[in-house]
C-alpha cells in the first residue's frame, strides 16, 4: 500500500510518552520464527495438557447455508459433552453459529457453561451498510448470543478508509454492550503482514475484546505466522496499556498437531496468562475429533477407530 496509514480520529493507543508507533513486520523473519517454534517437541504430559486445553478453548463452529436446527442441536450437544465415553474430557468454550440458529443453540447448551457465539455484521463479506450491520449485531444479542463475531469491512480497509473500519467497530461495540466482541480481520484478504498488524491494532483500539483471523470461508487463514503477528500486536498493546485482548485463530486448524503448535506460539509470545479460554480460542469445525482421538491415544497408547468418535 503506497499511502501512509492515516490515523483516524479516535485512533489512540495510549502510547505516551512515546510517539505512537504502528510498526512493521518483516515477512521473512516472522515466517522463520513461526517455523522455529513449530519444531518444539511437545510430548507426554505436556501434550496431554495442551490437548485438554485445546478442547476447553474451542469454539465449535458450523456456518453453512445448509445449517438446520437439527444440525445445530447435535453440535451443541457435542459441545457440552465432547466424548461421552470419557467423563474427564471438558466441555468446549462455545458453539459458533449463524444468527438464525442462536436460539436453538442457546436452548441446547442450557446452563452447561458453554457459550453461544453468533456471527454478525453481514458475515462473511461485511459488504453492507453500517446501520444494517449495527442492527444485526444488536439483534443477535437480543436473541441470546453471549459472544458476537463481527467482520471488518475489508473493502474500506484496503481502500485506505481506516476511519470507516474503525467507526464501524466502535458502533458495533456500543450496540452489543457488555457482550463479548470478537473482530474478524479476514487476513486472507489483507495481503500483507503489515496490513494484518495494522488491522489488529485498529480493531483493538476500536474496542475489540478478541481479534480473530478469519471467517473460515477462504483457503488462506489461520497460519502460524499470521497468528504470531496478531499475538505480537496483542503483546504490544498489553505492554503499553495493560489491556488484555484475546486471540482467536479460525479456519485451517484441522488437526491436534496444529493446535499444539499454535499453543506453543501463544505460550512463547504472551506467556501462560493467555493460556485460558478467556483469552484464547480456536475456531474450528473438524479439529475437535482429532484432538479427542489424540487424547485417547495419549491415555491408552493406542489409536482408537475413528468410528468411536461422533460425527455431528
Amino acid at each position: 500500500m503506497a499511502q501512509a496509514p492515516a490515523l483516524p480520529t479516535g485512533f489512540e493507543l495510549p502510547l505516551e510518552p512515546r510517539l505512537p508507533r504502528i510498526g512493521s513486520v518483516d515477512q521473512v523473519a516472522v515466517e522463520a520464527r513461526a517455523t522455529d517454534l513449530s519444531r518444539r517437541s511437545i510430548k507426554r504430559e505436556t501434550k496431554l495438557f495442551a490437548l485438554d486445553l485445546a478442547v476447553r478453548m474451542m469454539d465449535l463452529t458450523t456456518l453453512e447455508g445448509a445449517d438446520t436446527p437439527g444440525k445445530v442441536a447435535a453440535l451443541a450437544s457435542k459441545a457440552v459433552r465432547p466424548d461421552p465415553s470419557d467423563a474427564s474430557i471438558p466441555s468446549v468454550a462455545a458453539v459458533c453459529v449463524y444468527p438464525n440458529l442462536v436460539q436453538t443453540a442457546r436452548e441446547r447448551v442450557g446452563d452447561s457453561g458453554v457459550k453461544v457465539a453468533s456471527v454478525a455484521t453481514a458475515f462473511p463479506s461485511g459488504q453492507s451498510p453500517t446501520d444494517l450491520k449495527v442492527a444485526e449485531a444488536r439483534r443477535v444479542v437480543e436473541l441470546g448470543a453471549d459472544e458476537v463475531d463481527m467482520v471488518i469491512d475489508r473493502g474500506a480497509f484496503l481502500a485506505g478508509r481506516y476511519a470507516k473500519v474503525y467507526d464501524e467497530i466502535v458502533q458495533v461495540k456500543e450496540a452489543v454492550g457488555e457482550t463479548h466482541l470478537k473482530v474478524i480481520l479476514e487476513v486472507g484478504e489483507l495481503g500483507t503482514y503489515d496490513n494484518v498488524r495494522r488491522a489488529s491494532l485498529l480493531a483493538i483500539a476500536a474496542g475489540a475484546d478478541f481479534i480473530k483471523t478469519s471467517t473460515g470461508k477462504l483457503s488462506s487463514s489461520a497460519t502460524l505466522p499470521v497468528t504470531l503477528v496478531m499475538l505480537e500486536a496483542i503483546r504490544d498493546v498489553f505492554d503499553e496499556t495493560g489491556r488484555r485482548v484475546g486471540m482467536k485463530p479460525a479456519g485451517g486448524i484441522r488437526n491436534a498437531k496444529q493446535a499444539v503448535q499454535t499453543l506453543v506460539l501463544v505460550h512463547e509470545t504472551l506467556g501462560v496468562d493467555w493460556l485460558t479460554p478467556d483469552l484464547f480460542r480456536f475456531g474450528a469445525s473438524s479439529l475437535l475429533n482429532d484432538v479427542l482421538m489424540q487424547i485417547r491415544k495419549e491415555k491408552t497408547g493406542r489409536y482408537q477407530n475413528p468410528d468411536y468418535f461422533t460425527i455431528d
Binding site: 518483516d26 511437545i42 505492554d239 493460556l275
Partner: protein, 498 residues
C-alpha cells in the same frame, strides 16, 4: 507441569507450562575408546605415543582418547598428502574429483543424524542447531564445490588455474564439521590434497568424517586428519605444506603470519570479530529482537561473526530492550541433546573462564548486567545468556571478542554515528543492519568495514556466498567462487598472502 492457579473470577490459568524433555537418542553414535591419526587412508597410532581425553562439555563425561600428534606424525601426514597429490589426484580428471565430492555430500546427508548427535555431544551445541544448521550446510558446501571441480577454467577465465599442492588446514571448535567442510571442499575441488587438524576439544566429528572418506572410496592420502592441541597446529604450520588455511583467534593468526613470512607459502586467515548489529528505529521490532537473539545466542555466542555489539537508535532503545529481556526469559538453556534446547553448553572450561573474566570486567567497568532467571545444570560448563546495557565504547566488553553468550548494548543517534561506532574496532568480519528502508541498507553497506553485512537477518550462510574479514578479522574468502582462489595458482599471477 502446569499447576493451576485461580485468578479472580477467571478461568484457572496454569502458572507455568513446562515442556517435557525430548532428548535425541545417543544410540546412533558409536564411539571408539581410543582413536588413531588418519594418514594415508588408515588409522595409525601416533609416533608420539601421546593421547589426551576428549569430553562432553555438557556433563564433563570422558568420551574417548585422542592422539596428540607430534612433529614426526605431522611430517608423515604431509608426506602422505604429497604422495597422493603427485600420484594422481592433481592429474585426475576434474570430473573424477567432482564425483568424490558429490559422494561425500550425499553420505553426509545420509548420516546427518549420526553426525548431528556427535557434534552436539562433543561440542555442547544444541541438537536443533547441529541438525538444522551445521549438517545441512556442511553437505551443501560439498555439493557446491563438487559443481566447480570441472569448471575451474570458467571460474577464472584466461588465468589457467592450477592446484597448489598440499594444504594444511587448522579449524576451530565452534562449528567442527562445518569448518571442516568449508576447508576441505574447495581444496579438493581445486585439486589439492589436505592435512587437516580439528580443534583440540572437538575432534570427534572430524574423526567420524574419516569413515565418510573411506566410504566414498577417496584415494588414500587425499584427506589426512591429525589431532592434537596448539603444538600440533604449530608443527603443521612449520611443515612442508604449500598453503595454510587457519580459522581461529586473531592472536594465533598473527603468530602464523609471522611464522610464514618470507616462506612463499600461501595463507588465508579467518579470525575474530566484534560485529555491530545496528538497529534503526523504523525496523520491524519483533523480528529485529529475533535477529539480535540469533546474532549473539546462536551456538552460545561461539561464532566469530556473532552480533556481539548491539547498536540501538536511542529513540527505540527502551521498548527494544524490554522486548529483548522478555525474549531472553523464553530461551531454554540446558541439555544439548534435548530438541527443545535453544542454548547449549560452553565448549570448554578454558572458554568458560575467559567469558567469566570478561563479564566480571564488564560489571567492574560499570555496565549494567541482565541475565534471565534460568537454572543451569550442575555438571558441565554453562553460562546464562547475558545482556550488558549502559556500555561505553571504551569498555573491554565493547572492544574485546568474548566468544560467549554475552551482548553489549550501545546507543547511537544518527546513521553517521552508527557507522562511526560500528567501524571503531580492530575487527571487521560482519555487521547487521535492521531498517525497513532499502536505501539506508545500501548506504550503510557502502560504509561499514566488514566482510559480510546482513540486512534484516543475521548469521545466515550459504555456500555460494563468500565469507571473510577486513582488518584484524583476517584475509582471504571462503565460500563462493572466491573461496576457490586461495587454493589455486595462476600462470603469471603473483600469489597473495604469506
Amino acid at each position: 507441569m502446569a499447576e493451576l492457579e485461580q485468578r479472580g473470577g477467571r478461568t484457572p490459568a496454569p502458572s507455568k507450562w513446562d515442556y517435557a524433555s525430548a532428548p535425541e537418542s545417543r544410540e546412533i553414535v558409536t564411539l571408539e575408546e581410543r582413536y588413531g591419526l588418519f594418514v594415508g587412508g588408515e588409522f595409525v597410532e601416533p609416533r608420539s605415543g601421546d593421547y589426551y581425553q576428549t569430553i562432553a562439555p555438557a556433563s564433563e563425561e570422558p568420551l574417548a582418547e585422542i592422539p596428540q600428534a607430534g612433529a614426526e606424525d605431522v611430517a608423515l601426514a604431509v608426506s602422505s598428502a604429497r604422495e597422493a597429490f603427485e600420484d594422481g589426484w592433481s592429474a585426475a580428471a576434474p570430473a573424477e574429483r567432482a564425483k568424490y565430492l558429490y559422494r561425500i555430500a550425499r553420505i553426509l546427508q545420509e548420516r546427518s543424524r549420526e553426525f548431528a548427535v556427535l557434534e552436539s555431544l562433543n561440542g555442547g551445541k544444541p541438537i536443533r542447531e547441529s541438525r538444522d544448521v551445521d549438517l545441512p550446510l556442511a553437505a551443501a558446501h560439498f555439493f557446491y564445490y563438487a559443481g566447480w571441480a570441472d569448471k575451474l577454467e570458467y571460474a577464472f577465465p584466461h588465468r589457467r588455474p592450477k592446484p597448489l599442492g598440499v594444504a594444511g588446514q587448522i579449524i576451530p571448535w565452534n562449528f567442527p564439521l562445518l569448518m571442516l567442510a568449508w576447508k576441505i571442499a574447495p581444496a579438493l575441488a581445486a585439486g589439492n590434497t589436505v592435512v587437516l587438524k580439528p580443534a583440540e576439544t572437538t575432534p570427534l566429528s572430524a574423526l567420524l568424517f574419516c569413515d565418510v572418506v573411506r566410504q566414498a572410496e577417496l584415494p588414500p592420502g587425499v584427506v589426512n586428519i591429525i589431532t592434537g592441541d596448539g603444538r600440533t597446529g604449530a608443527a603443521l604450520v612449520k611443515s612442508d605444506v604449500d598453503k595454510i588455511a587457519f580459522t581461529g583467534s586473531t592472536e594465533v593468526g598473527k603468530a602464523i603470519q609471522r611464522e610464514l613470512a618470507g616462506t612463499g607459502k600461501k595463507l588465508t586467515l579467518e579470525l575474530g570479530g566484534k560485529a555491530a548489529n545496528i538497529i534503526f528505529d523504523d525496523c520491524a521490532l519483533d523480528q529485529a529482537v529475533e535477529g539480535i537473539v540469533n546474532g549473539i545466542y546462536f551456538n552460545q555466542g561461539h561464532v566469530c561473526c556473532a552480533g556481539s555489539r548491539l547498536l540501538v537508535q536511542e529513540s527505540i532503545y527502551e521498548p527494544l530492550i524490554e522486548k529483548l529481556k522478555r525474549r531472553l526469559t523464553t530461551l531454554r538453556v540446558g541439555d544439548p541433546l534435548d530438541k527443545n534446547t535453544d542454548v547449549g553448553a560452553i565448549n570448554s572450561r578454558q572458554q568458560l573462564e575467559k567469558i567469566e573474566e570478561l563479564v566480571a570486567a564488564g560489571k567492574e567497568e560499570g555496565a549494567e548486567i541482565y541475565q534471565p532467571p534460568c537454572r543451569l545444570p550442575e555438571k558441565g560448563y554453562w553460562f546464562a545468556p547475558t545482556v550488558f546495557t549502559n556500555v561505553a565504547q571504551s569498555y573491554r566488553i565493547a572492544q574485546e571478542e568474548i566468544f560467549g553468550p554475552v551482548l553489549s548494548v550501545l546507543t547511537f543517534r544518527t546513521p553517521d554515528e552508527a557507522v562511526e561506532k560500528a567501524n571503531n574496532t580492530p575487527y571487521g568480519l560482519s555487521a547487521g543492519v535492521w531498517t525497513e528502508k532499502g536505501s539506508r541498507i545500501l548506504w550503510m553497506a557502502q560504509r561499514l568495514e566488514a566482510g559480510v553485512i546482513w540486512a534484516n537477518t543475521y548469521n545466515r550462510f550459504d555456500p555460494a556466498s563468500p565469507f571473510g574479514g577486513y582488518k584484524e578479522s583476517g584475509f582471504g574468502r571462503e565460500g563462493g567462487r572466491h573461496g576457490l582462489e586461495p587454493y589455486l595458482a595462476f600462470d603469471g599471477a603473483e600469489s597473495t598472502g604469506g
